[in-house]
């Protein structure tokens, strides 16, 4: 019971800290002192208190999509294992529900962007939809390979790679981390795929989709995109931490890895430039290729005796 409560607290509180830490890192690289780590939370509360400007072009879709996106991300969060390697909702094939419930949120957010009739937002929606076609198959190849390897059909299989396979397991873990990290950059809209701080509409992807949202709706959208980052970060942490660690160590390692990921993202954002849009497809393809390597390693590791 206490673990479930901690899980939920983690899911709701850490998104703020994660973004705060990313911003702190960026401030460090820029030589600034930077805002407090809690600043995202203050922003969130401030947005919630505000009124709204609603475009006359929009319909009900525009009003409901932020709530639905947040609901879908929270729901996806319940399916993902956190510090104790156990998800609140865990069953055979839960990763399919995870991917599809996130896709439901994406469907409505794309429709919400198109609802404004703005060409900028249409552009963002079109790009987001196109890039995600490459992410999902790669993710599915990776997870199903790991499932084949570990013999566990839920997300818990992620942490079973090392206990179930020998030296090849380390390689699979490293490659899996790379795949999930790229997925995190694409789905979470971070540099080098997308720049959350840019102010030129023509080059944006996710940020341009929400140009017309304001007030509480914007707060919900921002919160859900931060939560999405933390969910993907927990997947990465789970793949690194083996299941046979004691709960205290694995919780500590978990917090450590999450913080490290925030610092890495912040560092990448301070030191790398954005990719040209046409190159993002190629970047996303790296995911598929690495997933295929994971598949072949899995086949080797299962059938090496034959």
């Amino acid at each position: 019971m206490i673990e479930i409560i901690l899980n939920i607290l983690f899911l709701f509180i850490f998104p703020f800290l994660f973004i705060g830490l990313i911003n702190k890192t960026k401030a460090f690289w820029a030589g600034r002192k930077g805002a407090s780590v809690f600043q995202p939370f203050y922003d969130f509360v401030k947005l919630l208190k505000k009124g709204q400007v609603i475009s006359t072009t929009t319909s009900q879709i525009f009003a409901i999509f932020p709530s639905l996106v947040l609901a879908s991300v929270i729901f996806a969060g319940l399916l993902v294992p956190t510090f104790n390697h156990r998800a609140i909702l865990s069953f055979e094939g839960s990763f399919i529900l995870f991917a599809y419930i996130l896709a439901l949120g994406k469907f409505l957010s794309l429709a919400g962007a198109m609802d404004t009739g703005s060409s900028f937002e249409g552009m963002g929606a079109s790009r987001e939809a196109s890039f995600s076609t490459l992410v999902e198959p790669a993710f599915f190849i990776m997870i199903s390979s790991i499932i084949a390897l570990s013999g566990n059909y839920s997300f818990e299989s992620l942490s079973l790679i090392l206990p179930k396979s020998g030296e090849l397991g380390y390689l699979i873990v490293i490659l899996g981390v790379i795949v999930l990290f790229i997925m995190m950059l694409i789905e979470g809209c971070r540099v080098p795929v997308d720049d959350p701080n840019t102010h030129l509409e023509l080059t944006m992807i996710h940020e341009v989709m929400i140009l017309d949202n304001s007030g509480p709706d914007l707060a919900l959208i921002l919160y859900s995109s931060w939560m999405k980052l933390i969910i993907l970060a927990s997947l990465i942490a789970n793949i690194i931490i083996p299941a046979n660690l004691t709960i205290l160590y694995s919780a500590l390692a978990f917090i450590g890895i999450i913080s490290a990921l925030a610092i890495i993202i912040g560092t990448i954002e301070s030191t790398f430039a954005r990719l040209r849009l046409t190159h993002i497809f190629e970047f996303a393809f790296i995911m598929s290729s690495i997933s295929l390597i994971i598949l072949s390693l899995t086949v080797i590791s299962i059938y090496k005796g034959d």
Binding site: V53, S59, A71, S72, F91, I96, F107, A125, S126, E136
Partner: protein
């Protein structure tokens, strides 16, 4: 069984009696009869389906048909359920849809006769177990649907689509005839049940016949590369007919494949991989070409190809399970495939009806000219949205459940100790995921461009009101079904359990202990929880906004003060980044008129994407065929005398033949 015949008789009589009636009353009259007929048919079907019975009746027809067995087992009963229910909803929708066509010198007169003939022939196709009788009702089905397709026969493209459909269907029946003749000669009997021994006798013959029949049934079902008739026939037909054809009629092709499977005890491994491969190709290319379409109904037609592919993937996984003697995989695959048949008929009818509602009000087919319809047609928009989410396979709607079953089947195939099946399954999983995300791209495009934003043309702007309540009602029922199956999957699985057992050749298998049913209970609770969570967040957000200032302002246009509806993103531009990435799979035809002079007066840009299968497979085949047939042009000389001579020659030959036989 008597109720079943009574139901079929009522539906047929309804169609027949509608011919002399005044046009205004036809649809209502027919739907009363269809409703009654459907009721009787459904009683029988549900009874058999849920109680896992098999009933049969033999009828003796004059030679050469002889004894005809009508057998309803759970597999037939499942198809009867889909056919009768979905066609009845289609008939209800037709009451509203047909209105603008009344008294305009159209062939409404016989339309409902053919509609009900189609329904009756489909109901017979899934029960008849005699080759000759089967082929006859199959042909009646093709012919009656041909007359339904050419409803709008004043338009040239409708006639050409109809002819294309007619020819394709006859190529299909050709393959069926060849396959069945081989079976009938080998067994010396026309009954389906006598073919079991032939399939069991030799692997080679069984595979060869299966492929022949698969092509024949696959043309009807719309597997790639035999799908080219779908995107032509569906846009040409009126919407209730496209809904019925796409939602129900093409499933008779799937029925044929499943029936043949039920006669084969265990399919060979090669044939299972063949079905899986064709299905994956169909699913991917179906949705890929759908993304490039601008005509809403054409887009939906390509999605039928995709969904037939998904059904096929389920069947393929089921066959692999049988071939590798793994009951769990076989069960999951078949359950998923069969449930997807029901699901597809629900959301595809819903979407076609939605497209029909839009066409009814705007009279445009090109989605680039639509937009903003959610303001004037909010209910249609909501129902179309539900259909779109369902077809994309997202929870909490029905499409997710069947895809989830198929995914589970593929995941469990890892338990078979073979590297090949592991690699194939992982690729199949990735393909299904790819198809899902592409469908998401396609339906966000279709829904957004048609219903959201500002109207892109005068016709779209001039829409004043919703479609008639009866049309909304029939779509609403379908949306309700989509929700019910999505939220209570455990009961839906109960519905498809017995048909799947027919394919496993084991009626007494304890399904509950084999498949992990509790997952679906979790999903059910989770989906309800998700909906509550969403409502809670939305209520909280609305509460936050209660006393706040909410301004209405125009959409942010980057400071540019003259934004208008033509500056919105179009369907082509929405799909462009993805399609340009997949250039090799399209043959593109540009039609550009560049702006000239200092003050350009007009510019024009048009882009059409062609289907590579049609271009490289169908067209060359037609060309070769044409070259051959050109040599017989001289027969049709146009002179009456010559034709009389032909008749005479034929008579003489026939007489000589008759005497010779004596």
């Amino acid at each position: 069984m008597e109720y079943y015949y009574l139901g079929i008789f009522l539906i047929f009589i309804g169609g027949l009696l509608s011919i002399p009636l005044a046009e205004k009353y036809k649809a209502k009259f027919v739907s009363v009869f269809s409703g009654l007929g459907t009721f009787f048919v459904l009683i029988t079907a549900l009874n058999i389906l849920l109680k896992n019975l098999t009933i049969s009746k033999s009828v003796y027809l004059p030679e050469p048909i002889g004894k005809v067995d009508f057998i309803i087992d759970p597999l037939s009963a499942f198809f009867i359920l889909v056919i009768s229910l979905m066609t009845f909803i289609g008939t209800l929708y037709a009451i509203g849809y047909i209105k603008p066509y009344l008294n305009r010198n159209k062939v409404v007169s016989s339309h409902f006769f053919f509609l009900n003939t189609l329904i009756v022939s489909m109901l017979l196709v899934v029960t008849v177990q005699n080759v000759l009788a089967f082929l006859i009702v199959w042909e009646i089905m093709s012919l009656s649907s041909f007359f339904l397709v050419i409803f709008d026969n004043e338009k040239k493209e409708v006639i050409s689509a109809g002819i294309n459909y007619l020819i394709t269907m006859h190529i299909s029946i050709l393959f069926l005839i060849i396959g069945f003749i081989i079976l009938a000669i080998k067994s010396g009997n026309l009954d389906f049940s006598s073919f079991r021994e032939i399939f069991a006798s030799s692997n080679f013959i069984s595979n060869a016949i299966f492929i022949l029949l698969f092509i024949g049934f696959g043309i009807k079902a719309g597997f790639v590369p035999f799908h080219t008739w779908l995107p032509k026939a569906h846009p040409a037909a009126p919407s209730h007919v496209s809904g019925i054809m796409s939602g129900v009629m093409i499933k008779t092709g799937i029925y044929g494949i499943l029936r043949i499977l039920s006669l084969m005890s265990i399919p060979s491994i090669e044939i299972s991989y063949f079905v899986l491969f064709i299905s994956i190709i169909s699913a991917i290319f179906g949705v890929l070409y759908a993304i490039a379409q601008h005509d809403l109904k054409r887009l939906l037609a390509y999605h039928s190809v995709e969904n037939i592919g998904i059904i096929g993937i389920g069947i393929g996984i089921g066959m692999l399970g049988l071939a590798y003697h793994n009951t769990l995989i076989a069960l999951l695959g078949f359950l998923g495939g069969i449930l997807h048949i029901l699901n597809h008929s629900i959301f595809k009818e819903l979407l076609f009806f939605g497209a029909g509602a839009v066409y009814n009000k705007t009279h445009i087919k090109n989605i680039e000219k639509m937009g903003g319809l959610i303001k004037t047609m909010p209910y249609t928009a909501l129902l179309f949205l539900i259909g779109s989410i369902a077809i994309t396979g997202l929870p909490p709607l029905n499409g997710f459940i069947s895809e989830f079953l198929i995914y589970l089947g593929m995941l469990h195939s890892f338990e078979i100790n073979s590297p090949i099946i592991l690699i194939v399954s992982v690729f199949a999983i990735a393909s299904l995921a790819l198809v899902g995300t592409m469908a998401l791209l396609c339906f966000t495009k279709a829904f957004s461009i048609v219903f959201l934003g500002l109207p892109r043309s005068e016709k779209a702007r001039s829409v004043k009101e919703e479609v008639s309540p009866i049309m909304l009602f029939s779509m609403g029922i379908l949306a309700l079904f989509a929700f019910l199956i999505g939220i209570f999957p455990q009961y839906a699985i109960n519905l498809v359990k017995n048909p799947a057992l027919v394919l496993l050749q084991n009626q007494q298998l304890p399904v509950e202990t084999i498949i992990p049913l509790n997952i679906f209970k979790i999903i059910s609770v989770a989906c309800i929880g998700f909906i509550i969570l969403f409502i809670f967040i939305y209520a909280l957000r609305s509460f936050m906004l209660k006393d706040k200032n909410i301004y209405s302002y125009k959409t942010w246009d980057c400071g540019y003060q003259a934004g208008n509806n033509r500056m919105q993103y179009t369907a082509s531009s929405y799909a462009s980044p993805f399609l340009s990435f997949l250039k090799p799979f399209f043959i593109k035809e540009f039609n550009i008129k560049k702006p000239k002079e200092i003050f350009p007066k007009e510019a024009h840009f048009e882009l059409h994407s062609h289907d590579i299968f049609e271009y490289y497979f169908i067209h060359p085949a037609i060309k070769i065929n044409k070259r051959f047939l050109e040599r017989f042009y001289w027969i049709q000389s146009g002179s009456t005398q010559q034709y009389i001579l032909y008749g005479l020659i034929f008579l003489v030959i026939a007489l000589a033949g008759a005497i010779g036989v004596k």
